[in-house]
């Protein structure tokens, strides 16, 4: 979709977005209402009347979130991203990952325009005032107002490689931001070069860009890959770019707000406190961003995510994009034709579930260990892997959990790994482990042992296993007519021939 507005309209038409017309304070109120909507599996929200800001300056939240996968809700945690991609919101997860793979395999490179809505209002130099924009204060104990669902654009110091990555920033004052670069990101790597050369790093922050630009900024791309090309491929149309006002970077013409400036190689300021992964991270020194220009639409929409509450937009996108990149690497780097990979928010992104046919002896160990080996590239978020066979539905987390706990012999299926990097989302690292720099890992093989005979493998007796397929379909068709509530769900891959 061309821009955020088209996407928000599509969400509204499919019942996924509601307008909040009453006056809302950007200080905590908008965030608290969003948290409420997250918890009740509610709609995305468009706050159309933000207290203290001019008419037309609005906030939006919940655009990329979803209900998790532990209960069968009305939609899936990938549904809203499907709408943004123009797909059926109820496609199964394996199909969703298949579509993503197909689209990122065919990048469409951007086009350059000379004008665009992102430049409708231009403030340069002393005119650029961050306080003129309704950045929300997200939680009571936060260090300041935050920008969350945004794309940071920066160029490598000694090549023409440009990265688009999601970075959160805290407003320090009218023309300074402070932002934290997690050590595994490309931005951190590039910034280290500028820092070593004692040069300021030019940056642009695209806020409310086309939905696929936001998606791309959560996708851990390989070195040298053009994010604009990937975003174009995902959109099925080139992203329209325009040169920034004060530096040579290019920004999406359809962005709502763009902040331009330089990241200082030496200035730091405390960033935080902030509830990063469902617990408070204390204020820590982080690089300071000096703002040189702000351009925006006449009526800018600032999207945001309320981290610390499940399932926030940020973490839902992390779950979708990191598990997709693992799926991509398993297939394209290792030639393991897996069916899907999930990283459920229910386990705080600490578990990766691989679904695949166990093609040959040792396949489970190879693919699980490959995933463990990649943890550092993804911020060491996970250290536990669950392997389920290809008869497992992607529509309900209950199934992998059932297999991991109920059908796996603890001494046969649980395999331990000595050392794994310490992620930011765990609370089990002791002081000693932190000093040493590692914790341990695990992969769980829930498949039937290869040496079992067909007699050893018990028959499944869930809905698909216990009833003939025609009967299940007939029951699904008559279900509402009989007076039952809710929508029947069939796990297609789990039918067992009788």
């Amino acid at each position: 979709m061309r821009n955020l507005r088209v996407y928000m309209k599509a969400l509204e038409e499919s019942g996924h977005l509601k307008a909040v017309k009453g006056e809302t304070d950007s200080n905590l109120e908008a965030a608290a209402l969003t948290a409420q909507s997250y918890q009740e599996v509610g709609p995305a929200l468009h706050f159309q009347n933000v207290k203290g800001y001019p008419k037309g300056f609005t906030l939006a939240s919940g655009l990329f979130t979803g209900p998790g996968n532990l209960f069968l809700e009305k939609f899936k945690y990938w549904s809203r991203v499907c709408i943004a991609m123009g797909l059926d919101p109820m496609v199964t997860y394996d199909k969703f990952q298949g579509f993503l793979l197909e689209r990122i395999s065919h990048p469409i490179y951007p086009v350059q325009l000379n004008t665009g809505p992102a430049k409708q209002v231009i403030h340069k130099g002393a005119d650029a005032d961050l306080n003129a924009l309704p950045f929300p204060r997200l939680h009571e104990k936060d260090g300041g107002r935050y920008g969350t669902l945004q794309t940071m654009i920066a160029q490598d110091l000694d090549s023409d490689w440009v990265v688009w990555e999601n970075v959160r920033t805290m407003v320090l004052d009218k023309n300074r931001l402070v932002g934290h670069f997690p050590s595994h990101t490309h931005i951190a790597e590039i910034f280290a070069k500028y820092k070593a050369a004692k040069k300021p790093m030019p940056f642009c922050l695209s806020i409310g860009g086309p939905p696929m630009v936001t998606l791309t900024s959560f996708l851990p791309l390989g070195k040298g890959v053009s994010p604009a090309g990937v975003a174009g491929g995902l959109t099925l149309d080139p992203i329209e770019l325009i040169k920034a006002e004060t530096n040579s970077l290019f920004i999406p013409t359809e962005a709502e707000v763009v902040i331009e400036g330089e990241v200082s190689p030496k200035d730091t300021a405390p960033e935080g406190p902030y509830p990063e992964f469902w617990f408070y991270r204390e204020a820590q020194p982080a690089p300071v961003f000096h703002v040189k220009a702000i351009t925006h639409r006449k009526d800018p929409i600032i999207p945001f995510s309320v981290d610390g509450v499940k399932p926030s937009d940020t973490h839902n996108l992390m779950s979708l994009m990191i598990s997709f990149e693992l799926y991509n690497r398993l297939i394209n780097v290792r030639n393991f034709p897996v069916k899907w990979v999930q990283m459920p928010l229910e386990f705080n992104l600490n578990f990766v579930i691989i679904c695949s046919k166990p093609y040959f002896p040792g396949y489970v160990a190879w693919s699980s260990k490959y995933v463990l080996s990649q943890a550092r590239h993804f911020g060491a978020l996970y250290n536990k892997v669950v392997f389920v066979d290809d008869k497992t539905t992607s529509l309900h987390l209950e199934e992998p959990i059932l297999f991991m706990i109920q059908r796996t012999h603890p001494n046969r299926g649980y395999h331990f790994w000595d050392q794994m990097p310490i992620g930011p989302n765990i609370r089990f690292a002791s002081a000693e482990q932190k000093k040493k720099g590692y914790v341990s890992g695990l992969y769980i093989d829930t498949t039937w042992p290869m040496d079992w005979t067909p007699d050893d493998i018990p028959r499944r007796c869930n809905l698909e296993g216990a009833y003939p397929e025609e009967m299940v379909r007939k029951v699904a068709a008559n279900y509402k007519k009989f007076g039952f509530k809710g929508t029947p769900v069939i796990f297609e891959e789990e039918f067992v021939p009788f």
Binding site: E29, A32, Q36, L402, Q406, R459, P468, F484
Partner: protein, 484 residues
């Protein structure tokens, strides 16, 4: 309260529908219930009035106690006379209070017992007069699943009520799964068998639904479930003498099956789809010879579907067993235990204990206690979480998964037993040889509690929405959200 009063209560709360379309007892009706379990965890109870071949003779009662996964005790609370939105701690505490006050039953005359409206005796006995459902397509036969088996200890006169399944073999014979350590059909029957005398039994369908809870509770040997049912109801159960046995049965039962189990006789039982989600095989089991059936007009037959994720038997177990374990743990001195729950869908396989960690080795003592408990016969894994983790509210399952992700270091906090546990025939983690040997299963503990020796600096607490916003802002958000 009998099954009919209870159905009326459900109807008043808008939780019951009646289905008048013709459905077959052979899988079809059950398939609707299985779909109902999946779509809304069985929140809509349903009565099939028109079971093919049985219209006006008997009805099937689906999802009679199944409840939302977020509140698996919902219909149980209603059966206990509590409001349907009673919280888990309210239900647990009320259950424990009533548990301490059992009431002896009273006996009524046969003329006052509705369960004797119709009597089938001797040659007239026909189990096929009732629509016992075919529950899974791979089952060995039609099954009765929610009923109370009554048998007396020939030595002491102790009468045991237990929930055991039965498979219909012919018009007057049934067989049922018997597992070694269970009281009723196993230990007692073996006593009769050793003396080479028939064991009298009664199988009761219906009565006060609270009987299903008393029969499912893990009581000490010698305790009479009838007294506990009376205690739970806060009113004595009304019993009546069976027609052909000296056993007593609930006077308002829907169906009572009377007969004897003959010594040294076996018939193949199973296969049957079980709570593990897998089909359990066929094996020779004792035979029940039916001498008499008494029943009410158009009886209601409840049933549960093993393996269909969330089910009625899961709802009963998830309401009962955690409370029972909680009580026993406190009796055993584990006073730091704050709450006990089962993870949804896993029945006995995922037991969660929220506990403080008061002294070194406490966790391992608790683990040892759990591993040798009867519940450990079925359960494979335990999760221990910190005492301040909320496992009492509707998000208990999500909270436990969060702890498994972020509070368990695999090598330090996952404890596996040796392969020294009894392996029931139902255990899907073992191959056929292992199941026959009967040993080789193992247990796993996810210890997600904070290690005892940790300093304050090492402990990181997760945030809750309530910590993130001032309560005034939260309250406003809630009211604005409602008005959207």
């Amino acid at each position: 309260m009998d099954y009919r009063d209870y159905a009326e209560l459900l109807r008043k709360e808008g939780m019951l529908i009646e289905i008048n379309e013709e459905v077959s007892w052979n899988l079809e009706a059950i398939c609707y219930t299985a779909m109902n379990y999946r779509v809304e965890n069985g929140q809509t109870a349903h009565i099939f009035n028109n079971v093919k071949g049985y219209k006006g003779k008997a009805r099937l009662f689906g999802s009679f106690v199944a409840s939302p996964k977020k509140a698996p005790h919902q219909k149980s609370a209603m059966i206990f006379g509590l409001p349907k939105d009673a919280t888990w701690p309210t239900f647990r505490d009320e259950f424990l209070r009533r548990f301490d006050h059992p009431l002896k039953p009273i006996v009524v005359e046969a003329g006052d017992a509705v369960c004797k409206q119709h009597v089938m005796m001797g040659k007239d006995v026909n189990l096929f007069a009732f629509p016992w459902p075919m529950i899974h397509q791979s089952d060995g036969g039609r099954y009765g699943t929610i009923q109370t088996h009554i048998i007396e200890d020939p030595d002491t006169g102790w009468v045991n009520w237990g929930n055991y399944r039965m498979m219909i073999v012919s018009k007057n014979r049934m067989t049922g799964l018997v597992v070694g350590v269970q009281h009723g059909p196993s230990i007692f029957y073996q006593k009769y068998e050793a003396r080479n005398i028939p064991a009298p039994f009664c199988y009761v369908v219906g009565g006060d639904p609270i009987i299903n809870f008393a029969a499912g509770t893990n009581l000490p040997a010698g305790a009479a479930e009838a007294d506990y049912a009376g205690g739970f109801r806060q009113e004595p159960m009304k019993l009546v003498r069976a027609e052909t046995q000296k056993l007593y049965v609930p006077a308002d039962a829907e169906i009572v099956i009377e007969g004897v189990m003959m010594p040294y006789e076996r018939l193949d039982e199973g296969p049957q789809g079980e709570y593990t989600g897998f089909v359990h095989g066929r094996a020779p089991m004792p035979v029940y010879h039916v001498h008499c059936i008494t029943y009410r007009d158009n009886p209601l037959i409840p049933y549960s579907i093993g393996g269909a994720t969330f089910s009625d038997e899961q709802a009963i177990s998830q309401s009962l067993t955690p409370v029972e374990i909680y009580r026993q743990l406190h009796v055993a001195g584990f006073k730091a235990v704050k709450d006990v729950r089962f993870l949804p869908d896993l029945l006995w396989d995922g037991m969660v204990i929220a506990t403080d960690n008061p002294y070194p080795s406490y966790i391992q003592e608790l683990r040892a206690w759990m591993e040798c408990h009867k519940v450990g016969l079925w359960g494979t894994q335990f999760m221990f979480v910190d005492g301040d983790v909320d496992i009492s509210g509707p998000d208990f399952a999500s909270n436990v998964y969060q702890e498994m992700g972020t509070k368990a270091d695999p090598k330090r906090d996952l404890f596996r037993s040796d392969n020294d546990h009894l392996c029931t025939p139902l255990n899907p983690t073992m191959d056929e040889k292992g199941k026959k040997t009967g040993v080789g299963a193992a247990r796993l503990l996810w210890d997600c509690t904070t290690p005892y020796e940790w300093t304050k600096e090492e402990i990181v607490k997760p945030v809750k929405a309530a910590d993130l916003f001032p309560s005034k802002v939260l309250d406003k958000a809630k009211s604005v959200y409602k008005g959207l």
